[in-house]
Structures are given as C-alpha cells and as structure tokens.
C-alpha cells in the first residue's frame, strides 16, 4: 500500500473536505508532508488520465469533486444535497461580513440601510458565519466572521482568493476619492466645481 493509495482511499470515502492532518490519521507512518505530496501526485494523475473528478482545495481541506464540465449530466438527477443558492440579502450581508470582519450587526445594517438581524441569524444557522467575539460598545455586541463552510460554499481555498478591495471595479476608486475628499477637508483644485453647481440646479428645480 503506497501513501498515495491510502490518501486516495481516504479522500474517496469522505463526503466532506478533509484537512491534511485528518488524512494523515489514516496511517501512523503518514506524515503531513507525505499527504501533501500524495495529493499533488494524485492531482497530476487525474489530470493526465482525464478523470471526471479532481481533488479540490476548499478552505483548509481537500475533497474529491466532479469536474465542472460534468455538471449538466449530474443536474439531471433530482437530489440536491448541497446548500441552495443564497438570496440577494444573504449575499449582500456576506459580502459586508467577509470584507469587514469581525463586524457587528449595527455596522452591517449601516452599510445595507436595512435590518440584518434575521439574515445574520440564518447565516449563522447555515454555518456560513459565526460569532467570533464581542465588541467594545454598548451591550458588548456580537461580532461575526466567516467560517470554513463559507470557503467551501464559494469554492475557495482562503479569503485571499477574493479580490483585494483596491482591485474591485471603478466604484471603489470613486469611493476612495470620496473618502479622500471628505477626510482632507480641503478643496481639490479640480473638484470645487461640482459641489457648487449642484445646489444651483436644485434651486432652479424647486422654484
């Protein structure tokens, strides 16, 4: 029995992602390094043999999943034992939590402009976020952060796979600009025009 075969058997038998340490428990002689190497070898072998599945890294674990091109065939089966697609409210809340964690309910609501208590509760129930601590403010509010299941749900190795805030599209540049303008408190040579013309327009509208 080679380490590669033992790792393959372990990953094959599991329905959830397994960490390197968990896989190594299969055999006393199996070191973490050997597990990592076996996974790399297996991945190459599957690639070369054009298997319908591959070993994917989800959060801190590894799992054998089918390749995306086989989804149309599998989708013909009724059973859907995985989490359904999230609602717009859930995604919006997760987007805020993932970039601002640890974050409390009030802060989430400030960004969204709507209440967030029930959607936060649902996300905790689904183990996509968890309470990671308590804030300093009044009543020591609960602070939320994302979980390993969050990474699994979105097929990520780690949060580093999300685009860094500064790489998000133009909107962010605008935001940064707005912050700079607000924070500096000084009139930028190019800017003063716009705030001044606006009120004039308004006045015309109203009268």
């Amino acid at each position: 029995m080679t380490p590669q075969q033992i790792v393959e058997a372990t990953l094959f038998a599991s329905q959830t992602p397994l960490t390197v340490a968990e896989i190594a428990r299969a055999d006393g002689d199996l070191s973490a390094e050997a597990v990592r190497q076996a996974i790399a070898e297996l991945r190459e072998a599957y690639e070369a043999e054009e298997r319908a599945f591959q070993i994917y890294e989800l959060g801190d674990g590894f799992q054998v999943l089918t390749r995306p091109e086989f989804a149309p065939y599998l989708e013909r089966f009724d059973s859907v034992p995985r989490a359904p697609y999230l609602s717009a409210a859930a995604l919006e809340t997760l987007a805020i939590v993932v970039y601002r964690q640890p974050i409390g309910r009030i802060e989430v609501e400030e960004v969204r402009g709507v209440g967030a208590s029930s959607v936060l509760r649902t996300l905790v129930d689904w183990e996509l976020i968890e309470v990671v601590g308590r804030g300093e403010g009044l009543g020591r509010p609960l602070l939320y952060g994302t979980t390993t299941r969050f990474l699994d749900h979105f097929g990520m190795k780690g949060l580093s796979e999300l685009p860094p805030p500064e790489e998000l599209p133009v909107v962010l540049a605008e935001l940064q600009e707005a912050f700079d303008l607000g924070a500096a408190g000084e009139a930028h040579p190019a800017e003063p025009g716009s705030p001044e013309t606006a009120p004039a327009d308004d006045a015309v509208e109203v009268e």
């Binding site: 799992q63 805030p165 605008e174 000084e186």
Partner: protein
C-alpha cells in the same frame, strides 16, 4: 407593488436611461430592491447621474413617488427603512436651500454622507457579484453522495400493471404445497410396571442384581428412567434395598421379598 409616476414605461435595473431627472416616467417594483440604498442607487445609475452631483430635488421626488404606493403593502420595519431615507433626502434638500458661505467645501456639502453610503453600498454590490460568480462555479462541482441511493421501498410504490386474469393465471402456476410431514413422538416402549415385574422375575433367580442389568441390553434413556423409577418405587414399598459402595460405583439391588428372606445372604433386618 408597481409604482407609476407619469406615463408607463418599464425600466429594468441595469439599463441606463435618459439622464434627465424629474420629468422621467417610472415603473419601479419595490420588491426587487433590498432597501432604500438599493432603490436610490438604481434611480441614480439608471439615469446616468453623476453620483458626486446628485440633483437632490429630482431624486427625492422620484424616490417618494416610487415608495408612495408600495408603503401600504410593506411590512412596518421595511416601510420604516424607506421612510427614514425619504426623511434624510428631504432634510438634505432643505439644507441645500439654506444660505451658505461663498465657497462651498465638499466636506460641508450636505450630500457628502449620502454619497459615501451609496458608494460603499455599490462597492459591496460588486462583492456580491464576485460571490455570486464563485457560488455558481462551486455549484458545478459535485461531491460523493450527490445522487441519492435508490429507495428500497420503490417496488412497493409501483402501480400494479396486471389484469385480474393475468394475476389468476400466475396464481395457478404456484405449485401445490407439499403435504405436511407428520412427526409422531416415539411411543413409550417401556413402563415402570414392566420394569418392576422384571425385577421380581430376576429376584426369583438371584437375591441381588446389578442395577445396570435392568436396562443394559436396551441402552435407551427411557429404559434407564423406567428402571430407576421401578427400583425407587420398590424401595419405597420395602421390597428392595439399594446399595452403592462409593460414588459412581455399580449400584446393586437386594431383594427384601418375604419368600426370598431365607436365602438372602447378609440380611440386616
């Protein structure tokens, strides 16, 4: 929950329309919006308005028109969120009308905080799109156990695809069950009385007999049991004496019958 301000024209969320504010016809389905920021952002982006130069009066008018009819059907909490935004819009509009210093700093623009919130909200909408794409991509990978095991009881839930004639025909093909095998318990082959008479007959020839002789030739449990019962019965009736020298040693029966008393050897009466 559809709100029409002037002439009916459907505006979809992402499609930018005329940049003129105020005189625009609008259909806004409030259900599609997460909240007031979402709605406001839609009004601004759909009309290609410069977010740093929002014509507050026009936007406020549109916003109020959009939520006006929808409010009645809304849950109280959700309605409050929209009304709060409406209130801040009106407040900003009022502030803009107030006399102000000659040179207006961006920092003093009453719209600044609203713009900051809108941009922040829009920024997170971008993150939502990133997450949505990742979620869809992940959804195309399936783990083991995706296809449920076939239910065992499936056969029972099938509708019967048989006619009555076919069923009866199949029934006739079932073979006749074989006749039941009658097992008769072995009849009792020996009685206690038979053994007692055997003992008496043997005593006519000898004054003592080995117990084993009473059943030895037959060797069955029934004979041994009957012999023991007979010996005990006769001992009780003072007809025999039973002796055993040591545990597991041969057992002897001695006759105590009156007609045999004179020939008994070692009588201990």
């Amino acid at each position: 929950m559809t709100v029409e301000t002037q002439a009916p024209e459907v505006l979809t969320r992402a499609r930018p329309r005329s940049p003129i504010v105020g005189a625009e016809p609008f259909f806004v389905e409030l259900d599609r919006f997460q909240g007031p920021l979402d709605l406001l952002l839609h009004l601004i982006r759909a009309q290609d308005i410069d977010i740093f130069d929002i014509p507050i009066a026009g936007i406020t008018k549109q916003f109020l028109a959009a939520i006006n009819k929808g409010l009645d059907d809304m849950q109280l909490e959700r309605a409050g969120e929209f009304l709060e935004m409406a209130a801040s819009l009106v407040r900003i509009k009022a502030q803009l009308l107030l006399p102000r210093p000659d040179r207006l700093d961006w920092e003093e623009d009453p719209r600044a905080e609203l713009v900051r919130r809108l941009l922040e909200y829009e920024h997170f909408q971008d993150v939502v799109h990133v997450l949505q794409r990742a979620e869809a991509q992940r959804g195309r990978h399936f783990a083991k156990g995706f296809i449920e095991p076939r239910p065992v009881s499936m056969a029972n839930r099938q509708t019967l695809l048989l006619t009555l004639a076919e069923l009866l025909e199949a029934a006739t093909r079932i073979p006749e069950p074989p006749p039941p095998i009658r097992v008769r318990p072995p009849s009792q082959t020996v009685t206690v009385e038979e053994k007692m008479s055997l003992i008496q007959r043997l005593f006519e020839k000898a004054k003592r007999i080995p117990f084993k002789r009473l059943f030895g030739p037959w060797g069955t449990r029934a004979h041994a049991t009957a012999a023991l019962m007979a010996a005990l019965e006769m001992a009780k009736q003072q007809m025999v004496r039973i002796e055993q020298a040591a545990p597991f040693a041969p057992i002897w029966l001695f006759s105590r019958l009156p007609d045999a008393a004179d020939v008994s050897e070692g009588d201990d009466s």
